[in-house]
Amino acid sequence: MAKLGPSGFSPYPVAIIDKVLNPPPGKALLFDELVDEEVAMREAAKAMLTRENPTIFPGPQVLYAWNEDAKKKAKQVKELAQVLNAKIIPMYDYRPKYPKINPEVEINPNHPNLTIWHNNIKACIFIGVHCHYANVALKIIRAETDCFTIAMCSLEGHEDAMITLRDQHPEELDKFIEIAKQVKAELGK
């Protein structure tokens, strides 16, 4: 992802248009640049603390208590939201919803732009969203909005996000919370 959106609809992922690929293990992606995970975490915290209406979008893998990691991550997401002064809007279901979602309280991967437009969200974190729906949602957000997207993925990451953090497990989330606290103190927020 070389630029912040709205980039207009494109059927291709940035991997094809901008030649951006997911980061290798231990690294992160900051726009189209490979950086250390700590640098990316710092930039992510900065974006969340400085842009309007920061929001965390937890997906089913965090919302539901289906394993021990999910239980830990739920607590960490709550703490992270407090540190970043962010709102939490859940992505609890991937099915399209008729007649329309309530963008105040939910986000749907098939039209995530509705929630982002409605709440004027300028920075967001995706966490616990299954890869295929994260890819769809991030691509739509990039196409339709100027929201700064951060993907915290427990697998290989999502190149369509502006910051991609890969292999994010409870230990990495703890690290991110600590970095967010430091950045918050530096910014005097």
Partner: protein, 286 residues
């Protein structure tokens, strides 16, 4: 299926909408005694749908979803048609097959599930329209009956290809005129329930969905008999109110009228199916 996928992490419960909390707290999953009488009190497996307002098929789907004894371990196989517009919105496992192939796909799924989960009960239910079941998919439907596959087949008969503008189907009664069948149907309606009996179904029923309790009873019998014995077939009349020129509040009236004629309640039970039904009744599940 693990029920943990419905347990919301307590830390994030405050951000979840009430309807999703209801899905966990007022769920009838893991309760084989569930039925249509629970409909007003629990979060349904189907709630919002994209069918026309007042469509009897939506009511039929609602009653069926409420009546399935084992929804958490039930796989629904559906086919192209109005019903397939609903399946993306229901909270159950569904497989959309190629038009007409639903019974063949269901047979494969059932066999694999029996192999993969020998110690768990997994029901496979086919839900398809009359075009998929009787016209285009008749071969696959009957072959699955001949093979004695342990699946339940439910046909939603609206007597027309409604989704594509009103072409006549094999289930259209003789003489009926539709937008794309201006000369009227030239031959009789296919007696699919009779074909099902002749092809070896253990339990066959024909009815309209005017009575929710009756639908519940029929669906439960069909699922239990299929689980223990072999193929079962349920033929439901779900009229397309648009194609027959009715208003959205007239579907029930239409079904009640047909209850007295060509969709008069009819049930065929083999002696061994009756034994299964009696046993399930004794357990208080029917």
């Amino acid at each position: 299926m693990s029920f943990k996928v419905y347990q919301i992490n307590p830390e994030l419960k405050d951000v979840m909408p009430q309807e999703i909390i209801d899905l966990e707290e007022k769920s009838t999953l893991n309760n084989p005694k569930r039925g249509v009488m629970d409909l007003p009190f629990y979060k349904e497996l189907i709630e919002e749908h994209s069918l026309c307002a007042g469509c009897p098929e939506a009511a039929a789907l609602r009653y069926i979803m409420a009546s399935l004894p084992n929804p958490e371990d039930t796989i629904i196989v559906n086919s192209t048609g109005c019903t397939s517009l609903v399946f993306p919105h229901i909270a159950m496992h569904t497989v959309h097959s190629l038009f007409g192939n639903q019974n063949a796909v269901a047979s494969g799924i059932k066999r694999v599930l029996e192999y993969r989960y020998p110690d768990r009960v997994k029901d496979v239910v086919v839900l398809a329209g009359d075009g998929a079941t009787v016209d285009i998919g008749l071969d696959c439907t009957l072959q699955s009956f001949f093979r004695q596959e342990k699946i339940t087949t439910i046909c939603f008969d609206n007597e027309v290809y409604a989704n594509t503008g009103g072409q006549e189907s094999g289930m259209t009664p003789k003489g009926h005129v539709f937008k794309m069948a201006p000369k009227g149907k030239q031959f009789e309606k296919v007696p699919m329930w009779q074909l099902a009996i002749d092809s070896g179904c253990k339990y066959v029923a024909r009815l309209t969905v005017s009575s929710p309790k009756r639908v519940e009873s029929v669906i439960k019998k069909a699922v239990y008999v299929a689980r223990y014995l072999g193929p079962t077939y349920v033929h439901l009349y779900t009229p397309c109110i648009l194609e027959i020129g009715l208003n959205s509040d007239q579907g029930l009236e239409e079904m009640r009228a047909r209850d007295k004629e060509r969709f008069e309640f009819f049930e065929y039970i083999t002696p061994e199916a009756q034994e299964v039904i009696d046993r399930v009744k004794a357990e208080g599940l029917l």
